[in-house]
């Protein structure tokens, strides 16, 4: 059981929770995640630890409402308990030190960049974050991110904030040296966190330039301890368990086709379950 200390609505379908979890906060490293369950009979879903405060005994999670469990979670309020929260799981990304690290975040991926970028900046790395969304009001945590990165670059589909275009377009510009005038050099390492198509596009963007790129894989998970193997991803012909070996893998080696296909394994059943949910939940789902 973990008590919700506070809740912030970032977008209509994205909620930020600060959760009381002293043991997890004490052990957490940037890039790790938790697994949560919200009701009896509920499923177990992985959620990135966006931030943690060891002294306060709190962790921050950001939930994007995409299915039954995330919607139930998104409906919880300050003072409510999350039934089960276990972690921290997975390992910190291994980023070769020295060099300009560009974090690319799509959707709620921006949240996951928060403590990673802060940690890198504190270690003296040069950091830039590129985050993207459809429109300005769907961009999240921009103030927080700009406080912990050397530079924050925004991209929107409609041009309502920052560059009009995809995060990969801005990334390509930086690779081509377009940011030098603004003091943003080309990336030496890239960290991609977000929807699978975005991470794949980032991998393709950096592949030709041979830039070290890590993607944060989010396959379906159950236990998160290496017990079920449901989270397996193929990385350069090797089968890895994302929950213990990951979630970060060499984006140039990840078999994205397989990862996308495996993530859709239950898509039809999931939408069937979502349809059975209360109509008010449907309304918020429609907004996503």
């Amino acid at each position: 059981m973990a008590r919700i200390i506070s809740k912030r609505v970032l977008t209509p379908v994205t909620k930020l929770f600060i959760v009381e979890a002293p043991l997890i906060a004490a052990a957490a490293q940037p890039g790790q995640f938790v697994i949560a369950r919200v009701r009896e009979g509920g499923e177990r879903i992985p959620l990135t630890i966006a931030d943690y405060g060891r002294d306060r005994g709190e962790i921050t999670i950001v939930v994007q409402e995409v299915g039954v469990t995330t919607r139930l979670l998104g409906a919880l309020d300050e003072g409510d308990d999350i039934l089960d929260v276990v972690g921290p799981l997975g390992a910190e990304p291994e980023i070769t030190p020295g060099g300009h690290v560009v974090g690319v975040g799509g959707g709620f991926g921006a949240a996951a960049l928060l403590c990673l970028m802060r940690d890198l900046s504190e270690r003296g790395e040069q950091t830039t974050a590129i985050i993207g969304a459809r429109q300005k009001d769907l961009l999240i945590l921009t103030d927080e991110l700009s406080a912990v990165c050397g530079h924050l670059e925004l991209c929107t589909d409609d041009g309502s904030a920052g560059l009009k275009g995809f995060v990969t377009e801005r990334l390509q510009q930086l690779i081509d040296g377009a940011g030098v005038a603004d003091g943003i050099g080309p990336p030496d390492r890239v960290l991609a966190i977000g929807p699978m198509p975005m991470m794949r596009a980032v991998a393709e963007t950096t592949r030709a330039a041979g830039i070290e790129t890590l993607a944060s894989m989010d396959p379906l998970m159950i236990d998160g301890t290496g017990m079920c193997g449901g989270c397996r991803v193929t990385v350069g012909n090797e089968v890895k368990f994302a929950c213990v070996d990951g979630p970060f893998f060499d984006a140039h080696q990840v078999d994205f086709d397989e990862a996308v296909r495996r993530n859709k394994m239950y898509a039809d059943l999931e939408s069937q379950a979502a349809e059975m949910q209360a109509p008010e939940c449907q309304a918020s789902a429609g907004a996503s």
Binding site: E43, D84, V239
Partner: protein
């Protein structure tokens, strides 16, 4: 006097045609009349060899005699004195290779139905009112137990019985280990498991779920910062093996652990009332022939599969499943493909499983395990059309805790090195037992290891306290505190 009857009193069981479609228990259990009838068969031998076959040395003739005399209270106290998980062991022990194997009656008849009787007594006990309250621990040294499978639960139960405060840490959201996530309800109903765990909680065992030692808390923190005097590791052998054949990551291929966890722990059979989905197609092939494979293939039928197949590269003789499960599987219509070696999982354009390419094997010379080595027969490749493939080819200890803790030795199979008798590991104050030490084995061996380690912990702590000869070892269920 013993009554001569050739055959065991049959276990009443639900009709195969009906039970193969639900998760209710297959065996219905003896009633008092059947139990006494069966108990009368026991010869009450002077040299009770059955006891030698039992890893926890239950005084078998004594408890059976008590049943025959109709004294259930006595039967239950004898049984529980030796085995803290009788309702579970009576259901899942491989009696045919343990107690019942050695039974003298095998010379002329079939053995006494020790397992069925054990189950009967434990179920009787479960129906009695229980007012036992938690006793305050009367010793100071706190004990931490990692993992709530049979090894951890029994160790914890024994330790509280000896007066120690005990905290069990479990990685999952529910306690029980394999008993919870692996063994299906048609063999071991959750009620039975919950009841056994409740008994322990009432005795004062504290169970903390959602804590992964090695991730949430370091093992060394337990000893150095959290004030525990000793730690028992009972983390099991939960890491599933894969074959490494092509097509293993196609949609519709699972490890048995995933398949069973979705159904048992996550209750996917109740989707969409429960939130975890599961997709079981018309034809399900399960690779392997142990208890896990039988549980998986029979669960597949219950999830709606029309055909459940066991594919095993060795022959029926080398099968490791309990004999009763094999029989039940045959009754339920499971097809067995012995001497069949899987080579590749085939899929369609969308990446879903369509078939399993196999090859016929024949038995050759004995291998390392002493069993005849299966060798491929050239030119015998064929395809079995299937919608799911489930790998049930074994598990090894999860390296998560062992890798994050220094000074613990493991062998070449990844098993934690610990003394068989005492559970002592290569580090002081750290003990271990169950599957994490032996590799995947049995419930009763894990339970026995938990019990032995508890005694060793007590002895070592007593020595540290400066007690010359440690107080007689109290048994779980002993009536009162000193």
């Amino acid at each position: 006097m013993p009554v001569k009857r050739i055959d065991k009193t049959p276990m009443p069981q639900r009709d195969a045609g009906v039970r193969a479609h639900d998760f209710l228990e297959v065996n219905e259990g003896y009633d008092l009349q059947r139990a006494m009838f069966e108990a009368e068969r026991c010869l009450r031998c002077q040299d009770a060899v059955c006891v030698d076959g039992c890893p926890v040395r239950i005084p078998i003739p004594e408890f059976i005699h008590a049943i025959a005399a109709g004294d259930m209270t006595e039967a239950s106290s004898i049984l529980r004195g030796a085995n803290p998980l009788p309702a579970i062991c009576g259901r899942v022990c491989p009696q045919e290779s343990q107690c019942e194997l050695l039974c003298h009656m095998n010379n002329r008849f079939t053995s006494a139905a020790i397992g069925h009787l054990e189950r009967f007594v434990a179920d009787w006990e479960r129906d009695q009112p229980n007012n036992e309250g938690a006793r305050q621990p009367w010793r100071d040294e706190k004990i931490a137990v990692i993992g709530s499978g049979p090894a951890g639960l029994v160790c914890a139960g024994q330790m509280v019985g000896m007066g120690y405060p005990v905290t069990v840490y479990e990685a999952l959201h529910a306690p029980g280990g394999v008993l919870r996530y692996g063994i299906p309800e048609f063999r071991l109903p959750n009620d039975v498991l919950d009841w056994e765990i409740d008994v322990l909680k009432r005795r004062g065992v504290e169970i903390v779920t959602n804590v992964i030692v090695g991730k949430t808390i370091a093992l060394d923190d337990l000893l150095n910062n959290m004030g525990f005097a000793a730690v028992f590791i009972g983390t099991g052998a939960g890491l599933p093996k894969f074959l490494g054949i092509p097509g293993e990551n196609l949609n519709g291929v699972f490890s048995a652990n995933e398949f069973l966890t979705r159904i048992n722990l996550m209750r996917a059979y109740d989707f969409p009332n429960a939130d975890t989905p599961m997709k079981v197609g018309k034809r399900v092939a399960v690779i392997g022939a142990g208890n896990t494979a039988m549980d998986t293939v029979r669960s597949a039928l219950r999830m709606g599969a029309e055909k459940g197949l066991i594919v095993y590269r060795r022959s029926e003789t080398e099968m490791t499943a309990r004999i009763e499960e094999h029989h039940h599987a045959i009754e339920e219509g499971v097809e067995f493909h012995w001497l069949t070696n899987p080579l590749e999982v085939l899929g369609n354009n969308e990446g879903w499983v369509t078939g399993l390419k196999c090859q016929v094997m024949e038995l050759g010379e004995p291998d390392d395990s002493g069993r005849a080595r299966p060798v491929p027969v050239a030119g015998t490749e064929f395809v079995i059309p299937v919608d799911n493939v489930v790998l049930s080819i074994g598990t090894t200890p999860n390296p998560l805790l062992l890798k994050s803790t220094t000074g613990l030795e493991t062998d070449r199979w990844g098993c934690l090195v610990a003394d068989e008798e005492s559970g002592r590991t290569t580090r002081a104050k750290i003990y271990a037992g169950g599957d994490v030490v032996t590799g995947a084995a049995t419930v009763i061996l894990a339970a026995g290891a938990g019990k032995n380690a508890a005694e060793a912990i007590h002895r070592d702590l007593a020595e540290a306290r400066g007690e010359e000869s440690p107080a007689a070892i109290a048994v779980v269920g002993a009536p009162s505190a000193p």
